[in-house]
């Protein structure tokens, strides 16, 4: 059984030392992808020929002395809501016109290919990145690699399952309210939703125009930083893209907590009634570990955090309804029932409700600015919260409407646009992964990565893999 690297950073070293070739790595990961389609069900479309051609090119480039950076030769999966020129795009829906996908690569895919990455396949997701899976649609339902009876969360369910299950080293997710960080937390991996506007969303089917992000999911914070370095940058094709220089995403990584100041918004994020005590204890333990390593913890407050969740929901569903209204009227039966139900709520918000949600955004942004404070006078570098209030639920018996009354800790960062990353910080008594969320100042992803990486230097939660990752090893 060939030994395979666990992280992108490790694979990049092996490729350059000759310990492995891109073709060898890609063949092994394709074999895993196929071998787990009846269990993890992570992919909608596996791109064998395209991937192997990309891998051969990467190996040829290495042989010719051409090095495009740490993603060269690395197989990467793409959530199947992002356009690829050589594979269909479904958004996991029977509703999306196949002609939508008859186009060039999305900007992020072009960037990955230009960096030498090997596009290995299109990953499963919640239909149109919203709702709960409906088996009646005929699409595979990705499973949690730690327990196949449980959800990997959504909407980037396939990316979470594939990275968590050791099928791929990294993949693209999208996030409108927590769809990168939720699967990262439930599947025991790292996932970054960077600052809004940092990465182009051109070529992605929209959910909520003012909230959508495309971002990296991988085993470690360092791997996410490596991917974001490639994905980031101004794109005139995306109206929301921001024309700012891209910093060195790994440049602040020292492995040290000396001088690091962490803000902890205790109210709401640590007091919500639906917060599982085991999740809270794991995040508190992570804070203790960071303090023991030299960090300082300061309590901070975001008074309207709960209302921010309502504003995000109203914004997301209203924007989605504007996009989906014609199809909801013309062919409602083609949607999965849970997706259709989610979008139907958009008919019930008024224009004034939507504008009121936008009036809340500056207020919450001001509260976040106050929570971070001024770094010159004792402000904090990041905020820390639990990512999800609980661990992964079972598919059986789950009531999606039950979640409507539950507090969430991720969507506020889509509303404010602040960078937020989930990293593993422990396991429940039942053996399911728990995620901790690190939130940064606008466009300060390097600090978030620095602290995430430092935590991963003193813990190994992110390197703990589920049994299925070993079973999926090719013979």
């Amino acid at each position: 059984m060939p030994e395979l690297p666990l992280t992108i950073a490790e694979a990049a070293e092996w490729l350059r030392s000759g310990r492995i070739t891109s073709v060898g790595l890609t063949e092994a990961q394709l074999a895993r992808a196929h071998a787990t389609q009846d269990t993890l069900a992570a992919f909608i479309h596996i791109m064998d020929d395209v991937a192997l051609a990309g891998a051969r090119q990467a190996d040829a480039d290495f042989a010719a002395g051409v090095d495009r950076g740490p993603l060269q030769g690395i197989p990467i999966g793409v959530k199947d809501i992002i356009a690829t020129k050589d594979a269909p795009t479904t958004a996991n829906s029977r509703v999306l016109d196949p002609a939508w996908g008859d186009r060039d690569d999305a900007t992020v895919v072009k960037k990955l290919r230009a960096a030498g990455a090997v596009i290995i396949g299109k990953l499963g997701l919640a239909e149109y990145a919203l709702g709960w899976p409906d088996p009646d649609t005929g699409f595979r339902i990705p499973k949690n690699p730690w327990d196949l009876t449980r959800s990997p969360s959504g909407s980037s369910s396939g990316t979470g399952a594939a990275v968590g299950g050791g099928v791929i080293l990294g993949g693209l997710g999208t996030c409108t309210g927590g769809s990168i960080r939720g699967p990262a937390a439930f599947c025991g991996i790292s996932g970054m939703k960077q600052t809004f506007g940092r990465v182009s969303k051109e070529g992605c089917v929209p959910l909520g125009y003012s909230l959508d992000h495309i971002g990296p999911m991988a085993r470690s914070a360092r791997d996410c930083a490596i991917m974001l370095q490639v994905l980031a940058g101004y794109d005139p094709l995306d109206l929301c893209s921001v024309d700012l220089p891209v910093p060195d995403m790994t440049g602040l990584m020292t492995g040290s907590f000396e001088g690091v100041r962490i803000g902890v918004p205790r109210d709401f994020f640590f007091t919500a009634p639906n917060l599982d005590p085991g999740v809270k204890a794991a995040v508190e333990a992570a804070l203790d570990a960071m303090v023991a390593a030299g960090a300082t913890v300061v309590d901070v407050s975001i008074p309207h955090a709960e209302a921010a969740g309502h504003a995000q929901r109203i914004t997301m569903v209203s924007e989605a309804y504007a996009y989906h209204e014609p199809d909801l009227k013309a062919k409602p039966e083609l949607y999965g029932k849970y997706t259709r139900r989610s979008f139907q709520l958009g008919a019930f918000y008024t224009a004034a409700d939507y504008v009121q949600a936008q009036r809340l955004r500056p207020l919450v942004r001001q509260e976040c600015a106050a929570a971070f404070g001024d770094t010159a006078t004792g402000g904090v570098d990041v905020l820390v919260t639990p990512t999800m209030p609980m661990t992964a639920p079972t598919f059986e018996g789950y009531d999606p409407d039950g979640m409507l009354r539950s507090a969430g800790f991720t969507s506020i960062w889509n509303l404010t646009g602040l960078p937020a990353m989930s990293i593993p910080c422990g396991f429940s008594s039942g053996g399911m992964p728990i995620g901790m969320q690190l939130v940064g100042r606008p466009f300060d992803e390097p600090t978030v990565f620095k602290i995430g990486d430092a935590y991963q230097q003193i813990t190994d939660w992110h390197l703990t893999v589920p049994p299925i990752a070993k079973e999926a090893q090719p013979a």
Partner: protein
């Protein structure tokens, strides 16, 4: 103009009015669900009417430029 607000309509009437206005087709089960969660929708929208936002500008930007 009346100087009093009309009595609050019940959730079923509110839901049926929205469905009639929008022309959105729903199944009987979906209509029942919408009636069931309509109070929650009202709760969420009411929660946004904060005194602190009474005179706030919304986060809506429209750049008057031909290239954006």
């Amino acid at each position: 103009m009346s100087d009093t607000a009309p009595d609050a309509l019940d959730a079923a009437t509110q839901v049926d009015m929205v469905l009639a206005r929008t022309g959105l087709p729903v199944t009987p089960e979906e209509r029942e669900r919408l009636i069931r969660i309509y109070p929650l929708i009202e709760e969420w929208t009411s929660a946004l009417r904060l005194p602190e936002t009474r005179y706030a500008e919304p986060a809506l930007i429209y750049p008057a430029a031909f290239d954006r």
